[in-house]
Symmetry: C2
DNA sequence: TACCTTCTTGACCAGTAGTCAACAAATGGC
DNA sequence: GCCATTTGTTGACTACTGGTCAAGAAGGTA
C-alpha cells in the first residue's frame, strides 16, 4: 500500500521487450503510428488508448505520451495515416479523360471499402466531436474534391460546383457503405449509377449561383411519383 | 483526509435545490433527458456527462445513474430525443403531390440546420463509435427514407432506389452543412438543385438491379470536362 | 574515462464513470 | 394518528484511465 516514490536507484534490469530497444524519434513515432493503424482495424479510432499502443509496442505508456501529448493526438495521427492511403489510391490514372478518371476513382473507392468495410465505417462515422479528428475529416474530403478538380482540368471550382461535388462525395460514401452490407444490386450497376449521377449533376451545379436556375434538360415532376 | 464511510445517521438537512424534489420515475427521466437536450446545444452529445446533467437538474450524480445505467445510455437518450424533433418536422404536408412534398421537406431540413447549425453538425458527425449512437443514426436515416417512401406512395422500395435515396439524403446533409458555413449561393438555388437532383436520380436508381443499366435520357461524358 | 544529449521508464496524480448502503418522502392499511 | 412498505434519492466510496515527471539508461564524442 505504501508505495512512496523511490527517489533513486531502484531500477530493474534492461527488460528488452519486443520493440523496447532505443530508437530515434522519427522511427519511434512512425512505429507507434503504424501500430495504431493496425489496432484501428479492430477498434474504432476514438477508442485507441495510449496504454494499448504501448503494450502492443512493448514500451511504456509514458513513452507514447512523450511522442503524442494527448490521446487525441495519437488518434488523430492514426486517422490521418489511414486516410492518406485512401487519398493516394483515388488520385491515379492521370492520363485518361475526366469522365474515365472519375469512373476509375469510383471503382477504387468501392474497392477500398470492400477491403476494410468495418474500418472505413468506423473512421467515416465514428469520428467523434474532437476538433482534430474533424479537421482530418475536412482535409480528406477537401482532398477528394481537389482530385476531382484536377480531373476536371480547372484551376478553381465555382461555389455551386464545389458544394455539389462535396454532396456527391457524401452520396458515394453513404451509398457504398449501405450497399456493402448486403450487396443488393450488382456492383457494376452501383458504380454506373454513381458515375452517371456525377455526369448529370455537375452541369446543373454549375448553374447554381450563376444566376440561371437549373435551365438545362428535362425535369418532369411526374417521374417522382411511383403511383403514375 | 480520513473520511470513512459514516454507516449511520450523519445526514444533513433536506437541501431542496431547484429540481431536487421527489418526482415519479417517468417525470424525472424526462426532465433529465430534456436537460441533456439543452446541454447538447452547447456541448457535443458525446461529451455530456452525468455529473453535468445532475448539477443542472439540482440532483445528485447517483440519481442520474439510477435512470441511465451508463453515461452512453444518457447520451443516446439525448440524441434520440433530438433527432425525433427533426423527423417530426420533415414528415408534414401529407396532402401535396410527391414532388412538392419533397420540396417542402428539403426546405424544412435547411431551416432546421439554419436554426441549429453547430448542434446538427455535432450530432451528424460527432456520433462517435458507440453502438447505441450509431443505432440512433441508423434509425434517423431510415426514418427519413420512410418519409420519402410514403411521399412516393409505394408500400416498399426496390433495393436500388433505397440505396439511391440514402445516398441522396447524405448529399443533402453534406451540401447544406457546407453551404451554411458561408452561404456562397442563394438559398433557393441550393434547394432547387437538391430537388432537381432527386427528380433526376430516382428514375435511374430504379433501373439499378432491374437488369437495365441506366438506359434513360442523355449522358454526355463531355459535360464533365470543363476544358471543353 | 568523463561528459553530454536523447530516448525511456514507472511511480505517481487527478478526474471521472459507476456502486451501494442508507435515508426520506410518499402511500396504504389498521 | 401510527406503523410498515414501497420507491425516489443521496453522497461517500472505488476503480480505472488519461496524463505528469524526476530519474535513469543508451549511445555518441572528446
Amino acid at each position: 500500500m505504501v508505495l512512496l516514490n523511490p527517489p533513486a536507484g531502484t531500477r530493474q534490469g534492461p527488460d528488452r521487450r519486443a520493440g523496447g530497444r532505443r530508437l530515434d524519434a522519427d522511427a519511434r513515432r512512425d512505429q507507434l503510428t503504424r501500430i495504431g493503424v493496425e489496432l484501428a482495424r479492430r477498434v474504432p479510432p476514438d477508442q485507441i488508448s495510449a496504454d494499448e499502443v504501448a503494450r502492443a509496442a512493448g514500451v511504456s505508456k509514458g513513452l507514447v505520451f512523450h511522442y503524442f501529448p494527448t490521446t487525441r493526438d495519437l488518434q488523430v495521427a492514426v486517422l490521418r495515416s489511414s486516410t492518406a492511403e485512401l487519398l493516394a489510391r483515388l488520385g491515379t490514372d492521370h492520363a485518361a479523360a475526366p469522365s474515365d478518371r472519375l469512373l476509375t476513382g469510383i471503382n477504387a473507392f468501392v474497392a477500398y471499402i470492400e477491403e476494410h468495410p468495418a474500418g472505413y465505417l468506423a473512421t467515416a462515422r465514428g469520428i467523434g466531436s474532437d476538433p482534430g479528428s474533424m479537421e482530418v475529416f475536412e482535409e480528406t474530403r477537401a482532398g477528394v474534391v481537389d482530385i476531382m478538380r484536377r480531373a476536371l482540368g480547372t484551376p478553381e471550382l465555382p461555389a455551386g460546383l464545389r458544394i455539389a461535388i462535396r454532396g456527391w462525395i457524401a452520396m458515394v460514401e453513404e451509398s457504398v457503405l449501405h450497399w456493402v452490407e448486403d450487396h443488393p444490386v450488382p456492383r457494376d450497376q452501383l458504380v454506373a449509377f454513381l458515375h452517371r449521377a456525377a455526369l448529370d449533376l455537375m452541369p446543373q451545379a454549375m448553374a447554381m449561383g450563376a444566376g440561371t436556375l437549373v435551365p438545362t434538360g428535362p425535369a418532369d415532376p411526374a417521374v417522382f411519383d411511383l403511383r403514375s
